[in-house]
């Protein structure tokens, strides 16, 4: 039964300590804490949280199972709709999804659905059987391009249905954005991501790294020469965007993708075990307000720089998860809201020495419904810094579309796919950021699973 206790606080590393290391910020609930927090759920007849979940997890049901201490049941309930609870529990924007719709949140604090999901996901990893019975092969083969959330979800479902699945990854390490993008302090790689990939291996999914589809092999090679019956393209977001202002090619200006890839994928935060350099300077300005901007600015801080967020709208419009903004503030990140860069200033050697900005004010709402920022005339000022990191989103990578006959892209250059993931090319399906543009892990996972069902139907109809 629901009770009136306050939301159970989750234990975290102290801000001053964690701002100097890359260990995970949040420790998560232990069993007692999880059961207590789960007991707060009202188990609504018409649960708004389920409607607000992009994949419709039966949230009150799994929470009820946690409340009675039955993690196995909770895990099975989540598994029906989500494959990566340990990951989504950590990175979903719960405040705009499940928790944002929780009835308790109207008067009190919403149930900590994300933390409970994470608890169940971590339990599932810790209690994973050493071996699982592999489904009997149906003799049909599917190639999966990429190894991020959509690709892993698609591969997992197809393998469970009996398909022989092979995942092709362009980089040397599996996991896509989970590995190169999201930092260790938010999503541990060995403890979580690698374990999720291991569980796919146990299902019989094969992986090959260092294969760039569109270069090493084309989609046509996969279908015609390598003998796959269908292909799923989950190749991710693409090329980093820049602002188009003066000075963006100065030394010391990086895309957030580059900065984070050097640190996360290449391990540059540990110079003892990695040869890859990263330059963070004394004072780093990160331009943007999304999760990637928060990841970059907090990474810069951990590498020893003073770290500043510059964002052209106000705090209310920050697209990042609320928890990340909160954590960033706690860690001493400086926020310069309603500020827009106009030029990056060079020293005499061509390195960054500052960034010119203007103040902004919020005007009329734009197409997205957010009030659009308007420049305050004559408000120019400079922020001193020696590193500028652009976290402005991405534009699609044309590599696959441009090398695949008959694969249409939309106006924005993303691969065109219907609700099921079917593209304009027979036998080729797509999902995740490559279709939607940069979005969330859970949407990508959902798209991968829908595509797995569509691929199954397609192959059965061959």
């Amino acid at each position: 039964m629901a009770n009136r206790i306050p939301r159970v606080e989750v234990r975290e590393q102290a801000p001053a300590v964690r701002a100097t290391n890359f260990e995970e910020v949040c420790y998560g609930y232990d069993r007692d804490e999880a059961m207590l927090e789960a007991s707060r759920c009202l188990n609504c007849k018409n649960p708004r949280c389920v409607a607000a979940c992009p994949v419709g997890i039966a949230i009150p049901d799994f929470i009820a199972a946690v409340a009675r201490g039955d993690e196995q049941a909770a895990s099975e309930i989540i598994s029906k709709d989500s494959l990566l609870p340990s990951i989504c529990g950590r990175v979903c924007p719960q405040e705009t999804q499940c928790e944002g719709s929780c009835v308790l949140g109207v008067k009190f604090e919403p149930v900590a659905i994300g933390k409970l999901e994470r608890y169940v996901g971590d339990w599932k990893i810790a209690n994973a059987p050493a071996a699982v019975e592999r489904p009997e092969s149906n003799g049909r083969r599917v190639a999966v391009v990429g190894s991020g959330p959509s690709a892993l979800a698609c591969a997992s479902d197809l393998a469970a249905m009996g398909y022989e699945v092979k995942v092709f990854e362009a980089l040397h390490k599996l996991g896509g954005v989970l590995v190169y993008g999201i930092p260790e302090f938010r999503l541990p790689k060995d403890k979580i991501v690698e374990r999720e990939i291991d569980s796919l291996r146990r299902l019989g999914v094969e992986f090959e790294t260092d294969v760039i589809i569109g270069r090493t092999l084309t989609i046509d090679d996969l279908l015609d020469k390598e003998g796959y019956d269908a292909v799923f393209v989950g190749s991710g977001a693409g090329l980093p965007r820049f602002m188009g202002i003066e000075g963006e090619n100065l030394n010391g200006v990086f895309s957030a993708n580059e900065f984070l890839t050097r640190v996360n994928l290449m391990g540059a935060y540990d110079s003892e075990s990695s040869d890859t350099p990263v330059f963070v300077g004394r004072r780093a300005v990160v331009v943007g307000g999304g999760n990637v901007a928060m990841d970059a600015v907090r990474t810069a801080k951990r590498l020893g720089a003073e770290a500043v967020i510059v964002y052209r709208r106000s705090e209310a419009e920050l697209p990042a998860r609320r928890e990340e903004v909160h954590h960033a503030r706690e860690e001493g990140i400086e926020f310069r809201m309603l500020t827009n860069p106009t030029r990056i200033i060079a020293d005499e050697r061509g390195w960054v020495k500052g960034i010119s900005c203007v103040e902004m004010t919020l005007g009329e709402p734009d197409a997205s419904g957010r009030r659009s920022p308007v420049t305050v005339e004559g408000s120019d000022f400079e922020i001193e810094c020696d590193v500028v990191i652009m976290a402005l989103g991405t534009s699609p990578n044309p590599l696959i579309a441009s090398t695949t006959e008959g694969l249409a892209v939309n106006r924005r250059g993303c691969i065109e796919a219907d609700e099921s993931g079917a593209t304009t090319r027979k036998g080729v399906f797509a999902g995740g950021d490559t279709v939607t543009g940069a979005a969330t892990v859970i949407l990508a996972m959902g798209a991968g699973r829908r595509a797995a069902r569509a691929i199954d139907e397609y192959i059965k109809g061959l």
Binding site: I212, T216, L217, F242, G252, N397
Partner: protein
């Protein structure tokens, strides 16, 4: 893992390695590059492809040991493996998709500086196999640093050598030899391709421009992933920001901002020097 099938020293600190990489070998075309990582913890570094053999499933790379990562690669021997060998990356040279009639109606001049001779070779080889006439200039500081001269002599219509100290061939820079060929010997070229150190490509482009000779250069920018994701390799071409890995590596030399490219290339020089000093080095690659 990608096994090293052959390893040879071509000149001091310049090594040739033939690597087993069947998928890359089958897909490679002139102008493309690979990303190589020596071991776990190693840096991803871009290297141009010096040759490829689809039948054998091998790709040849030529490496000059300049920093820690190139030394690590060159410390590996035959029978050992590179952790990663991903490619072919970048757009192939434009000529592979041009009509052969058009190609054959033009005379090509390739200008290679230092290790740049290695990536020039598959281009010259491809063109001469397709009946296109090309002359090649290979430049080096001194005769001991010349590489690929024998292979190039077979592939090119005419091979010219320039050494800074005059120890072999023309005494002087490649740009002076270009001038000599065009002005004194009356040679006429329709296309120029320059591959070598950034500073050399800049001056070759300037020289070629003085003869209105269109010039293609192959940029060796810093990269991390090599597939367009990181943007470390961005370069100003005709005032536009392009990515060397997906838009290049070959660009119209007239349009490239070489000074910016050189500055960007040196971004981690201090770091590299420190890393090399810190590294307990046992890999001078015997």
């Amino acid at each position: 893992m990608f096994e090293i099938l052959e390893k040879r020293m071509l000149a001091e600190s310049i090594w040739l390695m033939r690597i087993s990489a069947p998928r890359v070998a089958r897909a490679a075309l002139p102008g493309q590059f690979v990303i190589v990582r020596a071991d776990q913890g190693g840096e991803r570094i871009p290297l141009t492809i010096a040759d490829y053999d689809a039948a054998e499933g091998s790709v040849t790379i030529v490496i000059q040991t300049i920093g820690l990562s190139t030394r690590k690669i060159c410390a590996l021997g035959v029978g050992e493996s590179l952790a990663d060998f991903a490619g072919p990356l970048g757009r192939p040279s434009d000529f592979v998709t041009m009509p052969l009639d058009e190609l054959r109606s033009r005379r090509w001049l390739f200008v290679a500086g230092g290790v740049g001779a290695a990536p020039v070779y598959p281009q010259v080889k491809w063109l001469s196999e397709h009946g296109v006439r090309c002359d090649v200039i290979i430049g080096a500081k001194t005769r001991d640093m010349l590489i690929y001269t024998d292979l190039m002599r077979q592939a090119a219509e005419c091979l010219h050598i320039a050494t800074d100290d005059g120890s072999e061939g023309f005494h002087g820079m490649v740009t002076a030899l270009m001038k000599e060929l065009i002005e004194t010997r009356g040679e006429h070229y329709d296309e120029c391709v320059a591959i070598g150190p950034m500073i050399m490509m800049k001056f070759v482009t300037m020289t070629a421009r003085s003869y209105s000779l269109p010039t293609t250069v192959s940029l060796n920018a810093l990269m991390v992933d090599g597939t367009g994701m990181c943007g470390a390799c961005r370069v100003s071409v005709g005032g536009r920001m392009l990515f060397t890995c997906v838009d290049g590596p070959e660009f119209d030399g007239y349009e490239v901002d070489f000074d910016e490219a050189m500055r960007r290339q040196a971004m981690y020089r201090t770091h590299e020097r420190n890393a090399l000093e810190k590294h307990k080095c046992n890999c001078y690659g015997e």
